[in-house]
Amino acid sequence: MLSALEGSQAVARAVGLCRPGVVAAYPITPQTHIVENISKLVADGQLQCELVSVESEFSAASVALGAAAAGTRAYTASSSQGILLMGEVLYNISGLRVPMVLTCANRALGAPLNIWNDQQDSMAVRDAGWIQLYCADNQEAVDTTIQAFRIAEHTEVPVMVCVDGFVLTHTLEPIDLPTQEQVDRFLPPYRFERALDSRHPLSLGTCVDPLFFTESRHSQHKALLRSMQEIVAADSDYAGIIGRSCGGVLSVFGSAEAEIAILAMGSVCSTLQEGMQIFSQERVVKLIKLRAYRPFPVSALREVLQGVRELVVLERALAPGSGGIVGMEVRSLATTMNSPPRIHNYAVGLGGRDVPIEIYPRLIEAVTCATEPVWFEIFDVEVERLPIEDR
């Protein structure tokens, strides 16, 4: 049923529909509303779960790990510094192949301190062995959250659902929450085969020496690659039951024949989508909305990039001293194409900088005028605000 909900509230209710047994979280802006809303569900008796209000994000991830390893569906959420504080645990969870879901309310990393949205936090842990799914709007955030549990539990790879902080989490908009019955049909009760159980006492988290560590990393890599199919399958099964899809690993808007394409992740896709409608007279363009960043959908991307001559890759983060993060990976896959597009890599909307709709025509103009591909630039830098040496 459609209702006007704040993004955080919607995500919280989606989590509740998944019937987690243990939720552990530590407050950090802009994730707080999610946890507050879950707490409210528990307080109102609408969700039977153990809510563990830990003393740090590090413990939040650890508690969730403990719970999931013990065979209970577990969930946590965080942002920014919190994600980094969890970092050590995140690697550990994925290495142990313990399924769980984490919502990252994306936020910039300090210093300087900044509570606003970009995606530097989830990018910083992109190699932690988690599946990362980015949401373009709150409906996707809800649907992806529910799908994430199934993906995690089928693949035994943890899933991070990335929801842009404030831009989505604090925005009220009409959202269709599936019914409990639908979610139950989609998501069977959690069963972890290697659960800690005194009747079946396994040892988890052993020490693996050089003789086998290479293989264990290979296995983990393979598991991530295999999860691609499960992401697609979960999305299509979800569509079958609930009637709505998130596009699997990626979606394309606009003309398939377009020679200009923009690739982006997260809420900026919505603005760009409207830009495409408003400024449709400009050029034929297609928008590639990348939902799965990990696993990185190499073949799906290669397919949608066929025939594209100019590709803009937008980032909400950067690798200082190198440039774009997503851009670099796209560039690398393009080298495997027969006629790769020229790739222009921009970071936009860092630390909450508004991404106005006008960005669309400006980008199109920039790439169509460019004589050389833009290796990497931070869009919208006000040069005069910079110290001389940094201009």
Binding site: A4, N117, L172, E173, V355
Partner: protein
């Protein structure tokens, strides 16, 4: 698309006003979007929130730069730089103030409707929060939101006594402002 910007101060229920406005619109079948200009400001500091209403799904997530309407929760905010920025030429400004609409229109050079919302809210709800009163006035001015929509929106947020008082406030405000004087603009933007 109707874009609205709400100015207030931390603690005045600015975001609530935005959410209520969007929710009420949702109740009459509009697409809506409401979000704060997310800040770290504390109680008393000037803040903003944005509302978009449309008959089509709203995609853009940028801030509202050219609002059709401004809702200003206290007259002091009129002195804050940028409050009136980007207001569409035909747009209207709803201000909580004891000064007259005319006086303020003259001062700002915009179409201003004002009334002493805090005073009324204080009388009815016992709390100096103008947001619901302003919302009711906005509904009356634009004719966008029938009473039932407001009631539904308020019911989802308030309960029992607080709800009753706020509903009373809503009803009391409706004829304090020139009803439907902004309806034309609103309708024009709604197609």
């Amino acid at each position: 698309m109707i874009e609205i910007r709400i100015h207030g101060r931390g603690g005045q229920g600015n975001v609530v006003a935005a959410y209520l406005l969007a929710s009420a619109a949702f109740e009459v079948g509009r697409y809506c979007q409401a979000f704060p200009n997310f800040g770290a400001e504390r109680r008393g500091a000037p803040v903003m929130a944005f509302v978009r209403l449309d008959v089509r799904p709203i995609l853009r997530r940028s801030q509202v730069r050219t609002p059709a309407f401004l809702i200003i929760q206290d007259p002091g905010l009129l002195n804050v730089a940028g409050v009136l920025d980007g207001l569409q030429e035909r747009g209207g400004v709803l201000v909580n103030s004891s000064r007259s609409s005319e006086e303020l229109s003259h001062q700002t050079g915009k179409t201003v409707v004002s009334f002493a919302a805090t005073h009324l809210a204080m009388q009815i709800t016992g709390k100096p929060l103008a947001n619901v009163a302003l919302l009711s006035a906005f509904a009356s001015l634009t004719g966008l939101l029938p009473r039932e929509a407001l009631v539904k929106a308020l019911s989802s947020r308030f309960k029992e006594d607080v709800l009753a008082k706020n509903l009373k406030l809503v009803d009391m405000i409706a004829d304090r402002v020139p009803s439907k004087s902004w309806k034309e603009i609103a309708d024009a933007l709604s197609t």
